[in-house]
């Protein structure tokens, strides 16, 4: 299949969201794609979380990095972005990149080849990942957008952030559904965590207090087939 054709199909079917005037695709797999910029944003990969635990004696399965990269690979193959922004906590700790299995490193480097790649510094990985290409930045401003790991306390139009691992829960026609989600109010967007071992925190938790205009807050919940945009009045805690 032709890449551009597949991209066009994807985008045609996708829901667009507006963030400070920029149009973006909220992909159900947990990434944001800005078609005009050909920019893909992904957050909280937490690569090598498994080995980070192993280092401290809990030998949990080492397949999280592989699982996460495989999903990332699929997304990149679909959109063929010119720019990729990894929004911080790309690695679970500072030594993550170093510990990464050679096969994963190769897979990652293959994904990075031929495009601009930005590692935004996160609280788990404040420094540049060892021996990997790409630019490490504290934050990144492109057009009217600002990419940073932790959402700032003050209201910033066009801020794309991660860090909080948002999820949302609704109760509809006798069923309760809890999913990872994008959380946005038109001005700011907080992205879901992408990593295989990452937990999530309900957008109604107090950690999000003051970040959004509640009346325009929408949770873009990740469904199996598509994204579901849910207004804040429908959301349930827990």
């Amino acid at each position: 299949m032709n890449f551009s054709l597949s991209r066009a199909t994807l985008i045609a079917e996708a829901d667009f969201v507006g963030i400070a005037g920029e149009r973006a695709v909220c992909d159900r797999r947990g990434v944001l794609y800005f078609p005009e910029l050909r920019l893909l944003a992904v957050s909280d990969l937490h690569l090598e979380k498994g080995s980070s635990f192993a280092r401290r004696g809990a030998l949990i399965p080492p397949y999280d990095t592989g699982a996460t990269l495989l999903r990332l690979q699929a997304v990149i193959a679909d959109y063929q972005p010119r720019i990729v922004v990894s929004l911080g906590d790309s690695f679970h700790d500072g030594g993550g990149a170093e510990r990464m299995h050679q096969s994963f490193r190769e897979r990652l480097e293959a994904m990075m080849a031929g495009r601009d790649w930005f590692w935004v510094a996160g609280n788990h990985d404040p420094d540049a990942p060892a021996d990997l290409p790409g630019d490490t930045v504290r934050e990144l401003a492109i057009g009217s957008l600002v990419f940073r790991h932790e959402p700032s306390k003050l209201r910033v139009e066009g801020e794309i952030a991660g860090h909080l691992h948002p999820c949302a829960r609704i109760v509809q026609r006798g069923r309760s559904v809890r999913r990872r989600c994008f959380a946005g109010d038109g001005g700011r967007m907080i992205m879901p965590a992408f990593g295989a071992y990452t937990g999530s925190l309900n957008v109604l938790d107090r950690a999000y207090a003051g970040l959004f205009r509640l009346e325009t807050l929408v949770a873009y919940m990740l469904g199996a087939e598509r994204i579901f945009a849910i207004s804040s009045s429908m959301l349930r805690p827990g």
């Binding site: 979380k49 635990f53 192993a54 080492p62 397949y63 295989a196 937990g199």
Partner: protein, 843 residues
């Protein structure tokens, strides 16, 4: 054995040192035959299993070999080297160890023996533990977990080098759990330290004594068994079923109808022990008794969720004979000796003949007097079960559960423990482990995978070599790679995973914002129940139909679901499933009108009506009734295979019925029957073979359907969590030391998902599936049943509910709430009964 055979005094003198003979004489007692027999066998260097009812002097018998040997030992010279532990006593309960210290201390003091006895449990202060290591007592009383810790400490071999005997109390209850697996491995280790070590097992009667005999000794020579001494039953117990003047209820577990009659019995006896099957039943009965307790008799309550101090107060009062009645759950099943109980009342069905015998053994601790017991069936099926149990007790039938193969998660824990103690050689440890009965069929590749798991997680992706917890030296010995590993091991030892009850917190529908995170708490609900739910499932609790929204930390969130069917039943019955043996007895009784004569008239009438309106299943048949009621269609099956198997069957049948287009809505399972209700007419479907009942109940449901259900069941994720904790993959949470926050934990659910998709054959998933199949689902029993009923399904398509179906129909939507009456939840019993039996029978 009411007559104690006389032993030649000579024999006694040979076996018993003089101070003991004098002590017996001073007490006006003579040593019992089994005590001397055990002593003689121990003298001859043999290990032995002593099976005896309570009150037979089992404890003293178990310690006589040690005490007589210690009596003859020369005193340690002041300043001389400390001697190691001589005898290790292991009991399943801390309380039992403490109790033994008291009971054993008395004769030791009276005989004037130079013997030190100490306990070592989780409560022992660390300075005392330290001192015990330097100056060990002669007899150490402890628990399986403490043994594991001792083995894992450096210098374990020295600490145990003088060990002569290991006395294992209540062995029958220890061997059936993962604790038993851990203990068997610990014992194998001790035998490696001291090859001539002798074991003495003390047990209540069991179905297969040979299993325990093998368990006690090294299996290095195949099928080796310890010696066996059986003390047969004392006086025949005097057991009766309460022939109530009240109406025996159709369903339910409270036996509230019998409260005045129970109270009358309490008044007529000195001390009554009242056994129930669950904690909520205990609470309820206790309250009911106090409601009618016009003489304010001292009646106490004893169960596991009560505060320890409170339990100790009750135990003390019991010991002082200050109580007239104690309502208790299984916490008092084990052989703790207190007070003069002259009546045991068993409320609810005993669920197993062995359990009944054990509990009745609590009455009258002098084994030559008959124990007196009254069974109080809580409902009509329980009348049948009590009758069957009673017949079984007279027959001496036993039905303790068969032993299962040792868990691989437990083995992993033990392997790490061994390494913490001293470096080991894999070949030697493999041989050693296989001397433990639960691990006798362990194969080398599996063992090597367990070692690999302990070392680096055992993953196909060899990524964790540098984080190995144990490493092989050049000489081929496995040793702990760093001291922190041993420290972590010590914090996580044991196989008991606390499964707390969760608060059920109401989330108001339509609430919003961060402030409304939780509404009020409706009560507590067992995690085990929540395991069976998936998001969106509805169930009844605290007078409402609730929807399960999720679990967050220690809270279960629910929302209101008015107007929906409660889809998932709450199991209010006993925790113990009906034993296979009793189930068979009950089926046989239904099939044999001659035996109904022994039943209360109202129950016999019920069966006669069933025969008239529907049919009574033959002993080996499976009766399935279908009938409409309200706007639902019902299927009721009567396999009598116990709740666990029925629950699994219910899950699988609903999947199949769903595929067949029956639109099943929910199901309920009891120990006796299973009811499924649907929107489509199942009776019509079965008659037209769409599908046929034979196809529906085909054994192939245990293949793909079971797998598919396994895959996304909460049940398996929770089982995986337990295996992950026991095997040491992740750390146990320590109350008070828990670090909160998502950063330091990773959900075992996510680990499960990742592992399942990347390495489905990983050893921990293997252990998880094995556990779930035996413990939680009773798959093997279901399999036996499905094969038994092939070609023997009897279908009755009825116009209306049958008499036999009334009890399970009453269970639908019924839900006991801890310590709270739930009148409002009861279905309209009168209507159902009238429909089934005609107006003359309904009252």
């Amino acid at each position: 054995m009411t007559e104690q055979p006389r032993l030649a005094e000579q024999n006694v003198a040979v076996l018993l040192p003089e101070p003991f003979v004098k002590w017996f004489a001073a007490k006006g007692w003579s040593p019992r035959l089994h005590q001397l027999e055990l002593l003689a066998k121990a003298r001859a260097g043999q290990s032995a299993l002593l099976i005896a009812p309570t009150g037979a002097g089992k404890t003293l018998a178990g310690f006589l070999p040690s005490l007589t040997e210690l009596a003859k030992r020369p005193r340690r010279k002041p300043g001389g080297a400390h001697r190691g532990i001589h005898t290790l006593y292991i009991s399943p309960l801390k309380a039992l160890a403490v109790d033994i210290e008291r009971n054993l201390g008395k004769p030791v003091e009276e005989i004037g023996l130079p013997v030190t006895i100490e306990t070592r449990t989780g409560d022992t202060p660390s300075h005392k533990r330290q001192r015990q290591k330097l100056a060990p007592p002669d007899i150490l009383l402890t628990t399986p977990e403490q043994l594991a810790l001792l083995i894992a400490s450096a210098g374990a071999r020295r600490f145990f080098e003088d060990l002569r005997y290991v006395v294992l109390d209540e062995l029958h209850s220890l061997v059936t759990s993962k604790r038993g697996h851990l203990l068997a491995l610990g014992l194998a280790r001790l035998r490696a330290f001291v090859p001539e070590l002798q074991t003495i097992g003390l047990s209540a009667t069991v179905a297969e004594p040979d299993e325990l005999r093998r368990w006690l000794v090294s299996q290095a020579s195949p099928e080796a068994m310890s010696e066996l001494i059986v003390v047969t039953g004392g006086a025949k117990p005097d057991i009766s079923i309460l022939d109530s003047e009240e109406r025996v209820p159709w369903a339910g577990h409270s036996a509230r109808y019998a409260t005045p009659e129970i109270y009358r019995e309490v008044k007529r006896h000195k001390t009554t022990l009242l056994f129930v099957n669950t904690r909520s039943q205990a609470e309820l009965l206790f309250q009911e008794l106090w409601r009618v307790n016009e003489d304010t008799l001292p009646i106490a309550l004893h169960h596991g969720s009560l505060d320890v101090a409170q339990r100790r107060r009750v135990e003390k009062a019991m010991g002082e004979n200050a109580l007239r009645a104690i309502v208790a759950t299984s916490t008092l099943d084990l052989g703790i000796d207190w007070g003069d109980v002259d009546l045991v009342v068993h409320v609810g069905a005993p669920k197993g003949a062995s359990r009944l015998a054990q509990r009745i053994g609590r009455a009258n601790h002098r084994m030559d007097e008959p124990s007196k017991a009254i069974l109080i069936p809580a409902n009509r099926f329980e009348v049948l079960e009590c009758r069957a149990a009673l017949d079984a007790n007279y027959l001496g039938a036993q039905d303790t559960p068969p032993l299962v193969n040792g868990g691989l998660d437990v083995l992993a824990q033990h392997v790490l423990g061994c390494a913490c103690g001293a470096p080991f050689h894999a070949d030697a440890l493999f041989d050693e482990v296989r001397t433990a009965a639960p691990y006798v069929s362990l194969d080398r590749p599996t063992f090597d995978r367990v070692i690999d798991f302990v070392a680096t997680g055992g993953y196909a992706l060899r990524n964790y070599e540098r984080y190995a917890r144990i490493r092989q030296t050049k000489e081929g010995l496995w040793r702990v790679s760093n001291p922190r590993v041993a420290q972590q091991y010590r914090l996580n030892v044991g196989t008991i995973i606390e499964v707390p009850a969760l608060n059920v917190r109401y989330v108001q529908a339509g609430s919003k914002g961060a402030a409304s995170r939780g509404g009020r708490v409706l009560g507590k609900i067992e995690e085990a129940f929540l395991e069976t739910l998936t998001y969106g499932d509805t169930f009844m609790f605290a007078g409402r139909v609730l929807r399960f929204e999720g679990i967050r930390e220690n809270e279960c969130f629910v929302s209101n679901a008015p107007g929906s069917d409660a889809k998932v039943p709450y199991y209010g019955g006993g925790k113990f499933p009906l034993s296979t043996y009793l189930a068979e007895q009950v089926r046989a009784m239904l099939d044999d009108p001659q035996r109904w004569k022994k039943l209360p008239e109202q129950v016999a009438d019920w069966l006669r009506f069933q025969a008239e309106k529907s049919v009574l299943p033959k002993r080996d048949d499976l009766l399935i009734e279908t009938f409409p009621r309200g706007n639902r269609h019902y299927l009721v099956a009567y396999p009598f295979e116990g709740r666990l198997a029925h629950q699994t069957l219910g899950m699988l049948l609903t999947r199949r019925l769903d595929r067949a287009g029956a639109k099943p809505v929910g199901f309920v399972a009891t120990d006796y029957a299973l009811a499924i209700w649907s929107l489509a007419d199942m009776g019509w479907m079965f008659k037209n073979k769409k599908p046929s009942l034979a196809a529906l109940f085909d054994q192939d449901m245990l293949g793909d359907d079971l797998e598919a259900w396994f895959a996304d069941s909460w049940l398996l994720k929770r089982t995986f969590r337990n295996c992950a904790l026991i095997s040491g993959l992740i750390e146990k949470r320590h109350p008070g030391k828990e670090k909160s926050g998502r950063q330091v934990t990773v959900s075992t659910d996510l680990i499960y998902d990742v592992l399942r998709s990347h390495e489905p054959d990983h050893i921990l998933l293997q252990a998880t599936r094995a556990d779930a199949a035996t413990g939680l689902l009773d798959v093997s029993r279901l399999a036996e049943m499905l094969s038994r009923i092939r070609g023997r399904i009897v279908h009755k398509d009825l116009e209306q509910i049958s008499p036999l179906a009334v009890p399970i129909m009453l269970e639908i939507g019924k839900m006991p709430v801890h310590g709270e009456a739930d009148e409002t939840l009861l279905m309209d019993a009168a209507t159902l009964v009238e429909e089934a039996m005609g107006p003359e029978m309904a009252d």
